[in-house]
Amino acid sequence: MTDDKWPHAGHRPRYDEDPVVRPFMLTGGRTRPVHDGLRIETQLVAAPAALSAPLRFESRRIVELCQRSKSLADLSAALMAPLGVVRVIVGDLLTEGYLRIEEQPDQLSTSLIERIRDRVRAL
């Protein structure tokens, strides 16, 4: 997805400065993310250059938060925005190359599950 073409600047959603807006105003009215299959716990990290990118409001905040990896759920809680809204914004940031997905193992190995069990017991 990093080789996706840069979308036309004019296609970015416009943001309203009024904090009281309908949530999907933040996404330009779109409720479907560009990236399907992004799980609620998938770890996202910002590209180094993203902080100096001309991003505003939620996009900017997400890029700041993702200096360390965060999930959609973490971002939703931090921004106090519904998951569906965050999912759409994150989808745009992924397409634009400002965020990337931390690669996860396709399937959890038995040894990893054993590690989870042992760590849970040790909590």
Binding site: V20, R22, I40, R68, A73, A77, I113
Partner: protein
């Protein structure tokens, strides 16, 4: 906070789903062990109550906000465990696929006073072949049923573990999560081992035998 460093291997995020009827203790369960405030919202939002605390005063309110219980536990430097509570109300069932996709497994919380409230969750996990265990949340003053009685009432396969828990107690919640990972391991080994066929022949209890009220 965690010691995740920029140079460390990327963290692996694992997810467990906490399910059960409305008011069975999912929020309490997640909150007992999470290191963060357990709340995220998902919404079918058509309107938002603006600057009004008492939403009952808003006439014609069309907002539908779903609060999802959400917890995070840093297991070690490169391992994060997320807990997600499924919304208890049936009308939010459309969110389930999204929550459950890729989950390690599920915990079905049961209140013995309202056993039937957990039927939709059990049906869902059986149909989708998600490893799950049943955790009977012991409420103070509630009538106690034996775990065998609970199993009968739920109509779950004899191979599905049923444990007791107190969703308010961190140690108890921890034990439930450990029991679930144990069940995931058991199923994994069983599925590839010689016992797999025997297990399958025993089969899950047909959902038809679970009479929905």
């Amino acid at each position: 906070m965690s010691a995740l460093s920029d140079t460390a291997a990327p963290p692996i995020a694992v997810k467990i789903v906490i399910s059960g009827g409305f008011g069975v203790g999912k929020t309490t369960f997640v909150g007992a062990i999470s290191e963060i405030e357990p709340l995220v919202t998902e919404a079918e939002l058509t309107e938002r109550s603006i600057g009004v605390d008492d939403t009952s005063a808003v006439s014609g309110k069309t907002t539908t906000t779903v609060a999802l219980d959400f917890g995070r536990i840093t297991l070690d430097d490169t391992l994060l465990l997320y807990l997600f509570g499924t919304p208890g109300q049936d009308r939010f069932a459309f969110l389930w696929d999204d929550l459950v996709d890729g989950a390690l497994g599920a915990v079905v919380l049961v209140d013995t006073r309202r056993v039937e409230d957990s039927f939709p969750a059990i049906d869902y996990f059986e149909e989708n072949e998600i490893p799950f265990i049943v955790a009977v949340n012991r409420f103070d003053g509630g009538q106690r049923f034996g775990l065998a009685e609970v199993r009968d009432a739920l109509g779950v396969d004899a191979t599905v573990p049923i444990v007791e828990c107190d969703a308010r107690q961190r140690e108890s919640v921890k034990d439930v999560l450990a029991a679930l990972t144990e069940e995931v391991l058991t199923r994994r080994l069983g599925a590839s081992g010689p016992g797999a066929v025997a297990r399958r022949e025993q089969g899950p209890t047909s959902p038809a035998s679970r009479r929905h009220p």
